[in-house]
């Protein structure tokens, strides 16, 4: 198994998750990398990605695992992928493991950076949201309240930036929802393109560690 970390930026923020998967498939085929295929009726490349990002948000920390068997050395994989990638995807790291590292199920949180001129004025109120907030959603004429207490690991305001860590996966607080909330609450106009996912995080011994640290350890223990 080879796992690649990559950045998705520029025009990549306008491309949906399913189209990104298609694009990764094509990159790997262009790179001439021999990846194993599923055995089913509709055979497809065996690729595993972490959870999707909403449209409009860039990421410095995306992950994809390819089932390559013994066929290719990880450095070779990395170099070939880099050359064949579209302009909005940049490979940043590569790891080789014996088994599927199952990053999709391991990742439980994401760290985001939001560039937000004028947020200093609301610093205390913003950081206080760490304790949770409620959002009212209306669906089919019925109003439902959703409480996000326990979904937020951290929110810090430094200069013009908000750094926040939200749970991700089964218990999910989407960054776009948070941006909408603070825009409404403080009368701001932060666009989604101001948000970047900086890190994906997993848990070890009750502590959050980055996906990169997790992959380094898994690779060492292979």
């Amino acid at each position: 198994m080879i796992t690649l970390s990559y950045r998705r930026f520029g025009n990549g923020i306008y491309i949906s998750h399913t189209d990104v998967i298609r694009s990764l498939n094509r990159t790997i085929r262009r790179a001439g990398i021999d990846v194993n295929y599923s055995k089913g009726f509709n055979r497809h490349m065996s690729l595993k990605l972490t959870q999707p990002l909403p449209l409009g948000i860039a990421s410095d920390d995306e992950w994809v695992t390819a089932d390559v068997g013994e066929k290719i050395d990880k450095k070779d994989f990395f170099e070939r992928f880099k050359t064949a990638a579209p302009p909005y995807i940049e490979a940043t790291g590569v790891y080789e493991t014996e088994k599927n590292p199952s990053l999709a199920s391991k990742v439980i949180a994401s760290e985001y950076e939001i560039i937000c001129p004028g947020i200093q004025k609301f610093r205390e109120e913003t950081e206080a949201l760490k304790e949770g907030f409620t959002v009212v959603n209306e669906k089919d004429g019925e109003k439902k309240e959703k409480d996000y207490r326990g979904y937020i690991y951290d929110i810090k305001v430094t200069g013009d930036k908000i750094k926040c860590v939200f749970s991700f996966g089964n218990k999910n607080l989407r960054a776009d929802l948070f941006v909408k909330y603070i825009n409404d609450k403080f009368g701001l106009n932060i666009p989604l393109s101001a948000v970047t996912r900086k890190l994906q995080l997993t848990e070890e011994d009750g502590k959050l560690i980055t996906a990169k640290e997790y992959m380094e350890r898994t690779e060492r223990n292979k």
Binding site: G10, R29, L55, P86, L192
Partner: protein, 593 residues
């Protein structure tokens, strides 16, 4: 450069507007001519158009020329452009269309005419050529609509007739040489074969009296073909690599415009086709590759091509989309491992009599044998295409469609012992098209179309596993009007656009009432356009020399009315006239000179 990035998140599928696809050519190179290739439909439709891909490749490889693209934006993005007072722009460098030297529309079919105005409107470019003084780009057109560009010709400075591979670049060179002198540009372009400059042709009773020769690429094997096509960033209609096998068609079905318009028959060699397939897969990473032509099964050495592509695609874990072929033991072998999703068959008419009239050389036995083999090979779903309203059609012929379906169901039961066959039947309405033997024939009325569709609905209603879909009557009538239309119709298009008609090919946007109001307001007598034309009448497209002669088309029309067929011209030339335009390839490699 226009910056509209923030707005993109407000619209559906923003990837339609961003550009930057893999294999995008160098947009920064030194250039003296900037060409914007436009398609009057959405990105996912236009990006599936092979003509756009070929011309984009040729123009961008040419020294001193940069070619960009623009597709019709969906209504949400158009609203953003209007709100931001931003003119329509190219997707590569976000340059407003009105700042290009040439803006070229590839016009795929009649119902896209209003979208040309929609795009010009968004681009802040006057619709009519006479209203565009110096300073505006040269507005040019081409594509399948060039069989009869008259209904839209007032909107264009010039129109490409026939193959665009050589003429588009030739016009770009004229623009390069005489930049800033539109009159001189038009005069010089009128001298190029395959370029129709309306302002340089005379006119009598609204019909062009000049003579324009269709452009023909004589050697298709040597013609440029995109080996590194753009790889879209989102799913498109035909999301795969495509190799054009050959141009033209032997069959001679009398309703088919493409068959006669794209003659003479020119091949790409097997070696070139397989090599292109290999290069396209390697350069794009597509997981599917396919062939395109009017009838791939009629390519002389088709099985050797199929085996060649199958070999290169299997090596790379790429799916080879087999073309629709007449099913025989050889194709059955080739597809033995393939997914048996559905088999497509186009008998076009329900009785042998009518199939003879339209010269669809398929017999009852052909249909029965193909179906038997298909069911033995494992197919459980069949798609059947028919046409309604064909010349000389009776209710017996319409009911014959249902009889054919019943026969197919019984063959399935005979072969498999089961009754779970799924049959999807689709009927299109016959539309008399220019450059076909049926160009003189009448089109039936909308009421008659609906009556015939109702006969079939009643026939199919009790049949289990049969799904029937049909083409709308109003849209078919409009297509018929514009297909054989003249210059008077430009006013109708402009009036209909003013009423809010655009994206007319999209059912949710199509509003026939507005179109018929526009026809009425412009004083158009519909029956004059849809009715039978006199054999001696001068037709609006008669000024174009298509290669295939009017005399031959007339002979074929007369044979049709007598129920006589003409053999496909694989072994013997039928004398259609196309050979005057270059070598016409027959079987055994012989060419009619």
């Amino acid at each position: 450069m226009i910056d509209i990035n923030e707005e993109l998140l407000r619209v559906e599928k923003p990837a339609r507007y961003i550009g930057g696809e893999y294999n995008t050519p160098d947009m920064e190179k030194d250039c003296s001519v900037r060409f914007c290739l436009c398609f009057p439909d959405l990105y996912e439709v236009g990006m599936s158009n092979l003509g756009i891909g070929i011309l984009y490749d040729i123009l961008n490889k040419a020294e001193g020329v940069v070619c960009e693209r623009c597709f019709a934006p969906w209504t949400d993005f158009a609203a953003v452009l209007k709100e931001k007072k931003t003119p329509l722009f190219s997707i590569e460098t976000k340059k407003p269309l009105k700042e290009f030297d040439i803006v070229g529309f590839s016009v795929p079919y009649e119902m896209s005419y209003s979208n040309i105005l929609y795009m010009l409107d968004l681009a802040e470019i006057p619709f009519r050529a006479k209203d565009r003084k110096e300073g505006y780009p040269l507005i040019v057109g081409g594509g399948p609509a060039s069989a009869n560009p008259e209904p839209i010709i007032d909107f264009f400075d010039l129109f490409f007739i026939g193959d665009g591979e050589e003429t588009d670049l030739a016009v770009a060179r004229v623009v390069e040489k005489y930049k800033g002198d539109k009159e001189r540009i038009l005069t010089e372009c009128a001298k190029i074969d395959g370029v129709y400059v309306p302002s340089r042709c005379g006119e009598k009773d609204g019909i062009c009296v000049g003579k324009v020769k269709k452009a023909v690429v004589k050697n298709l094997d040597a013609a440029p073909y995109p080996e590194k096509p753009l790889v879209p960033n989102m799913a498109i209609v035909h999301d795969r690599g495509v190799v054009e096998l050959y141009r033209g068609c032997y069959a001679g079905c009398r309703f088919c415009q493409a068959c006669f318009f794209y003659r003479p028959i020119r091949y790409r060699s097997k070696e070139r086709v397989v090599s292109l397939a290999e290069k396209i897969i390697d350069n794009t990473g597509y997981d599917e590759i396919g062939l395109t032509s009017l009838s791939s099964g009629d390519y002389e050495d088709i099985y050797s091509v199929l085996e060649g592509i199958k070999e290169v695609s299997e090596k790379r874990n790429v799916v080879f989309q087999m073309p629709s072929l007449r099913l025989d033991s050889f194709t059955a072998k080739l597809t033995s491992n393939a997914k048996k999703s559905s088999l497509t068959f186009a008998p076009e008419a329900g009785t042998q009599r009518l199939r003879d009239v339209i010269n669809k050389n398929i017999t009852e036995t052909d249909i029965e044998n193909s179906m038997k083999l298909a069911f033995e090979t494992g197919y459980r779903t069949v798609k059947l295409y028919f046409m309604l309203g064909l010349p000389t059609e009776t209710d017996e012929d319409v009911k014959g469609i249902a009889e054919t379906v019943k026969k197919i169901r019984s063959i399935y039961k005979e072969v498999t012992g089961k009754t779970d066959l799924s049959i999807n039947i689709s009927t299109a309405m016959f539309i008399p098209k220019p450059v076909t033997p049926f160009q003189w024939a009448a089109q039936i009325s909308a009421e008659e179309m609906e009556r015939k569709q109702n006969i079939l609905k009643a026939e199919f209603y009790p049949m289990k596993g049969v799904k029937y879909s049909w083409h709308g009557a109003d849209m078919s009538v409009l297509e018929g009007i514009f297909a054989r239309g003249d210059r008077k119709l430009s006013e109708v298009i402009e009036t209909a656009y003013g009423k809010g008609c655009y994206f007319d090919g999209w059912t949710e946007k199509f509003d026939s009432t507005k179109w018929f109001e526009a026809l009425d307001e412009c004083g158009i007598d519909i029956s004059k356009y849809t009715g039978e034309r006199g054999l001696e009448e001068t037709l609006p497209w008669d000024f174009i020399d298509f290669g295939v002669t009017k005399k031959y088309l007339r002979r074929e029309y007369e044979k049709a009315l007598q129920g006589k067929t003409t053999k496909p011209c694989k072994y013997e030339c039928n004398g259609c006239g196309a050979k005057r335009e270059g070598d016409c390839r027959m079987y055994s490699g012989d060419c009619v000179k």
